[in-house]
């Protein structure tokens, strides 16, 4: 399937060959960025808060020579008047060449893609998927190790509600023979993800923080906003915390999609293992590559 006009909705829709192509194009963009989208417009419609994803898409588009319109929250838009997502997309597609969208409802990006005649990129749909985060996570890993296959990788924290964990587990299952999943019992990877992951990769699920032998420790935030029950949140937060002392024993690298709350102490930032800010910076070449691929091919 060609890339021009393609929607980027769920990591499930990308084969290993597709992912390899994205990583290759990201590397090319990293080494030699180019203004290949002059005259093109990106609509960034974010119905939920975002710092990294929104700013990195905006930066990516500006770097490519294009322009960005959009909104950062539904407040102040006609969504407050009750305008449907479908109608919003039908208007926005007439003003731009590509849409990037974040919305709290699962499946919203899929509906947007079915409505729109221009490409739609999912910047996060509820607790479902965040495919561009996975691409940049995989790019960061490849940048640090030169490969992804054969690495020992662990995902830690909220694996139930964390869409980055869902997307990354699916993406990694194309590359690694086994994946360690460390979470409280009530926050384990949901079966609709783990069933698919385990068809390609051996899963090692545990509740204890066994990290030292891992090449990549991927920490995630315990997300208060995804907990239907606040009592559960209070019981769980702060369970998996990386102090400087704990982090210094890790042989591999530490990644985190950010924002962090207290799961990684700020003292960890100065350690050589800490790669989460470099990881965020990977969003620029990856999103530049994706924007170019879906708008130009």
């Amino acid at each position: 399937m060609g890339w021009k006009g393609r929607d980027i909705i769920s990591i499930r829709e990308f084969s290993k060959k597709d992912i390899d192509e994205v990583l290759k194009r990201s590397s090319e963009m990293d080494r030699r960025p180019k203004k290949s989208l002059v005259g093109k417009k990106l609509s960034a419609i974010f119905f939920e808060p975002s710092t990294r994803t929104r700013l990195s898409f905006e930066t990516a588009m500006h770097n490519l020579g294009g322009e960005v319109i959009g909104f950062n929250e539904s407040k102040g838009t006609s969504v407050e008047k009750g305008e449907s997502l479908v109608d919003t997309v039908k208007i926005v597609e007439r003003y731009s060449d590509c849409i990037v969208m974040r919305n709290p409802l699962e499946g919203s990006s899929r509906l947007a893609a079915e409505t729109s005649s221009i490409p739609v990129i999912n910047a996060g749909d509820g607790s479902n998927q965040h495919p561009t985060q996975t691409f940049l996570d995989l790019y960061c890993i490849k940048k640090n190790f030169g490969k992804i296959s054969g690495l020992k990788i662990g995902l830690v924290g909220d694996l139930k509600y964390g869409r980055t964990a869902h997307s990354l587990a699916l993406g990694l299952s194309h590359y690694v023979d086994s994946l360690r999943l460390i979470s409280p019992q009530n926050l384990s990877l949901p079966s609709h993800i783990s069933n698919e992951v385990s068809a390609r990769t051996k899963i090692d699920e545990r509740t204890d923080l066994k990290l030292d032998d891992l090449d990549v420790v991927y920490m995630t935030r315990i997300q208060k906003e995804r907990f239907p029950d606040l009592e559960d949140y209070e019981k769980t937060k702060g369970v998996y915390v990386l102090t400087k002392e704990r982090a210094s024993k890790i042989n591999g690298i530490i990644m985190h999609p950010l924002p962090r709350v207290d799961e990684i102490s700020p003292e960890v930032d100065s350690l050589k293992q800490a790669k989460y800010f470099e990881q965020a910076a990977c969003g620029i070449p990856v999103r530049m590559a994706l924007l170019e691929m879906v708008m130009k091919g």
């Binding site: 499946g107 919203s108 899929r110 479902n128 998927q129 609709h192 069933n195």
Partner: protein, 152 residues
């Protein structure tokens, strides 16, 4: 006395049409709804809570002058996979069929995920796909659902 003869004593035999036998007891009304027979044009006989040697209790639906197509027959498997479908012509059963779980369910089921977009906006077609045994994946929120979780 056999089940069919007991039911025949209680209801007229149909000349032409479809008889759905061995329906899970109590599920005939739901089945009629998912088959689109809530307001039928032709006579429909519904028998509920009949004795059954194989199921203990069962429901039976007899639809006059209507031969269900394969797509509708397969919807029956969502509610009652053990049901048997008899195609009747001139008061005689000409064909006996079984229902098989469809690969795609369009527009007859709702997603149980309250945060799925399909429960907020009129989606063009809600369908559950990616059949894996008895599970379906919601096309929108990608949750894996068992047939018993679908809101039919």
């Amino acid at each position: 006395m056999g089940d069919e003869r007991v039911s025949d004593l209680k209801a007229k035999k149909i000349e032409n049409g479809t008889v759905i036998d061995h329906i899970k007891a109590g599920h005939a009304p739901q089945l009629l709804r998912i088959l689109g027979f809530e307001k039928p044009q032709d006579p429909v006989i519904i028998l509920v809570n009949m004795d059954s040697k194989t199921l203990g209790k069962k429901d039976i639906i007899k639809i006059e002058n209507k031969v269900l197509n394969e797509e509708k027959i397969n919807r029956i498997a969502l509610v009652s996979p053990e049901a048997t479908i008899n195609i009747v012509k001139n008061f005689t059963v000409r064909k006996k069929l079984k229902a098989h779980l469809p690969d795609v369910i369009k527009a007859i089921a709702k997603c149980p995920n309250r945060n799925c977009i399909s429960n907020f906006e009129a989606v063009p077609t809600f369908h559950v796909q990616d059949k894996r045994g008895q599970n379906f994946r919601c096309h929108y929120c990608e949750r894996l659902l068992g047939t018993e979780e679908l809101i039919l």
